[in-house]
């Protein structure tokens, strides 16, 4: 099978052929990466071979190379979806079917799915005649294949050929789909169930009513849980297709049954798809059927189901018919929600906390204050940090409804309480939410209520809190800007430089390290630098060597001339300090002065450093 290449490559000989020759040989290289590389350049190979040799030599070779690694096969399946032009255009697109057919039967799901995706794509490029002559027989072959891998692949192909074939072929396709819906293996039934909705969409309404409904009912009562739960998904599409008056008789019995299925996994699926189902069945059925069903799901005995339902509380309420939305929520949904606030499972509470704040916009100011605020407060004090975080990160939607004053009166005390909690881990959690809160509440409110807290953390007796507090300041400045920093926090931070406790003086330095970059050159040079330089005369060696480290950190923010005239003399002096560590860090700073500034969150490693160098005998004399 070695023949001269046609005009495109032959003329300029070896030079252009060689790289292609390498690519072709590497299709079978032992190294997967090289094979993958070659497959990804399959279009280059095909282009060099020309359409005829691609059809007669390359594709037959590829059809039989299904032994390869998954990633190679996956790439191949994807490439073939874009190969129409390379085999000679739509007229020859059917030549791509054999390799894709063999890929559609491999055991690896991702590869099969990709092959099906490519087949769906190229089906559009088949002429109606080719579709019946080449494509549809392939679908039939797959549908009646010996192995379930081929039958599962067939499920995804019916819907693309159905609209474009004659009515006799349509009847055959419907028959094949019916057969696969009652296949022996659960995999095929799962594949059929997951494609049921999609297939229903291309069917004529009469057939939806006659064929699809009976298949749907059968799949929804399959003995395998994994099949039944997929039928729930199909329910959404089917319900959308049917006229309102048929829903009650054709879909609702099955849906009711699914919502009360013995298996929690099926009920979970119903809860997970609830908003879609609600939209599909319309307001009347929602009022009569889905509300009680939703109540049951919120009270389900399995936590996974409750969590899935809790996640949908806001969406469900939002989509209720407006005329009696409030009444339904207040009498039917809210009582269940109240119970979930004190659920035994933290995932349930956390799911609820992520959406509960959204109810305030639906219920309005008065209801929010009377009914929802107590729930928010309870969740804000929850033992699980994720629940608290979810509440805090959604404060803004309540803010819009009840206004900042009301919010501050009720929620803020709870936040302050947590901020002063005796357990440092709780305090730490609140600090981490601070930038988020600041963003939601705005600068004015923040200055009034929370600023004092943030500053108080700087002198906390636990290092981790002080560390987090400095990091918090940096994030606040990122939010509120340098001007705000200059007026509110910089003076306080610098004031601590005169604190009698050397640990607080060091906090000043740590804050400066964190803030210099976000505050910019002006503030750093004019306000921070003088303080740092002055601290180089501190009597505690730990402070002095931290001055050296700070100077190194803020160096890149300063101007060259400042470095030369102000910083260097101080470092030179520190380099002759009587303390060994101060000398060491001064030298470090002098040699690394111009290293690019890179803010690193102070981490445990830096804390370790403090521990190593902390010498208690040098504790402040005062």
């Amino acid at each position: 099978p070695c023949c001269a290449i046609g005009p495109p490559g032959g003329a300029d000989g070896d030079d252009s052929l060689y790289p292609i020759a390498v690519l072709i040989d590497e299709l079978r290289n032992e190294d997967v990466q090289l094979r993958l590389n070659s497959i990804k350049k399959l279009s280059t190979i095909a282009l060099a071979l020309g359409v005829e040799r691609t059809r007669t030599e390359l594709l037959p070779f590829l059809t039989d190379t299904i032994y390869d690694e998954d990633e190679v096969l996956l790439a191949l399946a994807e490439q073939l979806g874009n190969f129409t032009m390379l085999v000679g255009g739509p007229e020859y697109v059917h030549c791509l079917l054999p390799p894709l057919e063999s890929l559609a039967t491999v055991e690896e799901t991702v590869v099969r799915d990709k092959a099906v995706e490519s087949l769906r794509k190229i089906s559009q490029e088949h002429s109606p005649v080719d579709l019946e002559v080449h494509f549809e027989p392939l679908v039939k072959r797959l549908a009646s294949g010996d192995w379930f891998t081929s039958r599962t692949s067939a499920c995804g192909l019916f819907s693309v050929c159905y609209p474009r074939v004659s009515s006799t072929v349509k009847a055959e396709i419907r028959q094949h789909f019916r057969t696969l819906c009652s296949d022996d293996t659960p995999m095929v039934r799962r594949a059929a169930a997951s494609k049921l909705g999609e297939f229903a969409k291309v069917l004529e309404l009469d057939y939806v009513k006659s064929d699809i409904i009976s298949l749907f009912t059968a799949l929804a009562s399959d003995e395998q849980d994994s099949v039944r739960l997929l039928a729930v998904e199909a329910c959404v599409s089917i319900a959308t297709l049917l006229p309102q008056e048929d829903l009650e008789t054709l879909v609702m019995p099955t849906l009711r049954q699914a919502a009360e299925d013995k298996s929690w996994r099926v009920r979970y699926m119903v809860a997970d798809k609830f908003s879609e189902l609600q939209k599909a069945v319309g307001p009347e059925i929602t009022k009569n059927d889905l509300v009680p069903a939703f109540q049951n799901l919120l009270k389900d005995c399995e936590a996974e189901v409750r969590a899935a339902a809790a996640n949908k509380v806001k969406e469900f309420c939002e989509n209720l018919p407006e005329d009696n939305r409030e009444q339904i929520i207040m009498t039917h949904i809210l009582p269940c929600v109240k119970e979930l606030v004190s659920d035994t499972n933290q995932h349930v509470k956390s799911a609820l906390a992520s959406v509960i704040m959204g109810l305030s916009t639906i219920l309005g100011k008065d209801n929010t204050i009377e009914h929802l605020l107590p729930l928010f407060l309870a969740q804000l004090k929850d033992e699980c940090p994720e629940v608290r975080l979810n509440i805090i990160s959604n404060l803004d939607c309540v803010n819009e409804v009840i206004g900042i004053r009301q919010l501050s009166q009720s929620l803020l005390p709870a936040i302050v309480e947590l901020a002063e909690d005796a357990k440092w881990r709780v305090r730490l959690a609140i600090i981490e939410y601070m930038p988020l809160l600041a963003g939601q509440l705005g600068v004015e409110f923040f200055d009034e209520k929370l600023n004092t807290l943030c500053m108080a953390w700087l002198i906390d007796h636990v290092y981790a809190i002080r560390e987090a507090a400095t990091c918090n300041l940096m994030k606040l400045v990122e939010k509120f800007g340098a001007d705000w920093a200059q007026n509110t926090i910089v003076p306080k931070v610098l004031g601590m430089a005169n604190d009698p406790n050397y640990l607080h003086r060091m906090t000043t330095l740590f804050c400066i390290n964190a803030l210099s970059d976000v505050c910019g050159r002006d503030i750093t040079t004019k306000q921070m630098l003088p303080v740092v330089l002055k601290m180089s005369e501190d009597q505690v060696a730990n402070v002095r060597f931290n001055v050296a480290k700070s100077l190194q950190k803020i160096g890149p923010v300063l101007e060259k001339i400042t470095l030369q005239n102000q910083v260097k003399p101080v470092l030179d002096k520190l380099a002759t300090d009587k303390d060994m560590d101060v000398k060491y860090f001064a030298h470090e700073a002098l040699s690394g002065e111009c290293l690019p500034y890179e803010y690193k969150k102070l981490q445990w490693s830096s804390m370790l450093c403090v521990l190593v160098y902390a010498r208690p005998q040098l504790l402040d004399s005062s």
Binding site: E57, V106, E107, W147, P186, E302
Partner: protein, 446 residues
């Protein structure tokens, strides 16, 4: 259903070959044996971490009687010895269990597990190989690039059949204790792996996540009184599985009720007979294997001295109890001293659930016909394995006069134990692992 009980004792005819390794080392000891769902393939795992797959010879018209011979199809190293540096623990390569997956395409798939890691293996055939390079000539010599004036596309040429085994998935890091069993769900999407204290549920396609569905580890390990010894999925009900415990009980769990199955839905236990209570009661009541019948109606359990069949509808006592080697009851003291009392015997059903089989000592294995209540003791040994011979039933006598052909309890060899056996899913073909030998017996062809 054909009733084979008519001619009990079974006329099992040994095949001409006994599959065994010539040099007998510890690594060669067979640790598990399992037929696939069609019975065409048989896999064994050994202490050396190897898996050997045997394939049944295709029927030929000229020698119809030769149908049934199993030949080696593929051998591969499934697990290697490892060392857990965090816990300073050696992880043995020994294959604890093999489970076949139903065939899904031309290839075969099986799960194999050692103490910690489950692997999904694909065994596939290849009979074509690509030929023709651009940069090399037929002899493999590199061609001068300037002589390349045309492109060649490789062509697939037939070659000798090659069977390859490739590890498709590795399910690791989910077990703190030793995995004792794996079982594939009837949904063919999930499986469970079970260790001493926990049952984990896996999706066959996902290796980075598993769900713990049973956890019996007490908060304080000193309060530990019971361990899980084996677990299996129901053959048809995707939501039901059973696990057995060292206390002689079996729990049936329904995965529909809750995501965590710490609460069982059925609890099978036989009240203890106070008259036979002894120091060894608890040890010998520990269940070493639990198996659902093919029809899903019954559970079979094996403890040290008996095999019991339980009806899923009756929790308070077993439907049937068969004595495997009751003559050992008087020897429990010495069996405790040589640790044999802790041997974990497995048990199997025949294809129609009418006969059960389990192993014993001295290379004996036992079969019980559930319909006729007849039982038989057979021996797996080279001596009586002449081709075309029929296995003679063996008898063990306790004290007193010993008749010809009988063997005395005192002369039983306790180092020769048959722990692992398997029964062809449809036909009367059994495979019996006796240390490093695998015996495949077949019902007499009439």
């Amino acid at each position: 259903m054909k009733c084979f009980s008519r001619y009990l004792p079974y006329l099992f005819r040994p095949p001409s070959t006994i599959l065994s390794s010539t040099c007998h080392t510890e690594a060669d000891i067979i640790s598990t044996v399992e037929f696939n769902s069609s019975g065409e393939l048989l896999a064994t795992g050994d202490k050396g971490g190897r898996v050997v797959v045997f394939q049944r010879e295709q029927e030929s018209k000229s020698q119809p009687q030769r149908r049934g011979e199993y030949n080696v199809y593929s051998t591969f190293q499934s697990h290697e010895p490892e060392f857990d540096y965090l816990k300073s623990l050696e992880i043995e390569e020994k294959i604890n269990k093999i489970k076949w997956l139903p065939q899904q395409n031309a290839a075969y798939f099986l799960l194999s597990t050692n103490d910690k890691t489950v692997k999904l293996w694909k065994i596939s055939e290849r009979d074509k190989r690509p030929e023709g390079y651009n940069l090399k000539d037929e002899d493999g010599r590199i061609r001068d690039p300037s002589t390349i004036t045309s492109l060649r596309v490789p062509v697939l040429q037939p070659m000798d059949l090659m069977v390859e085994a490739t590890a498709r998935r590795v399910f690791s890091n989910a077990h703190t204790y030793h995995i004792n069993s794996i079982s594939v769900n009837s949904d063919l999407q999930t499986y469970i792996s079970t260790d001493d204290l926990r049952v984990n549920l896996w999706n066959l396609e996902i290796t980075d996540r598993s769900f713990n569905i049973v956890d019996i580890k007490p908060a304080n390990m000193e309060e530990l009184t019971e361990v899980i010894t084996s677990a299996e999925f129901h053959p048809q009900h995707c939501h039901t599985f059973a696990y057995s415990s060292s206390k002689g009980s079996i729990r049936l769990c329904d995965m529909r009720q809750a995501a965590l199955c710490d609460k069982h839905c059925k609890y099978f236990e036989e009240p203890e007979d106070p008259s036979t209570r002894s120091f060894f009661s608890e040890i010998i009541s520990s269940i070493s294997d639990v198996k659902f019948s093919h029809n899903g109606r019954y559970l079979m359990t094996r403890d040290y001295l008996t095999v019991k069949v339980w009806d899923l509808q009756m929790e308070n006592k077993p439907l049937e109890t068969y004595q495997v080697h009751d003559y050992l009851r008087g020897k429990l003291c010495s069996l405790y001293e040589n640790d044999c009392i802790f041997d974990k015997f497995e048990c199997v059903w025949n294809g129609s659930d009418s006969v059960i089989m389990t192993g014993s000592y001295n290379n004996f294995f036992r079969m019980f016909d559930r319909n006729t209540k007849r039982d038989v003791t057979l021996e797996a040994s080279r001596e009586n394995s002449k081709p075309r011979a029929i296995l003679k039933p063996r008898k063990v006598c306790v004290g007193g006069k010993r008749r010809k052909d009988e063997i005395s309890v005192d002369s039983l060899d306790f180092s020769k134990k048959i722990l692992h056996t398997t029964w062809h899913p449809q036909e009367n073909i059994i495979a019996v692992a006796a240390t490093n030998n695998l015996y495949i017996f077949q019902d007499k062809v009439n």
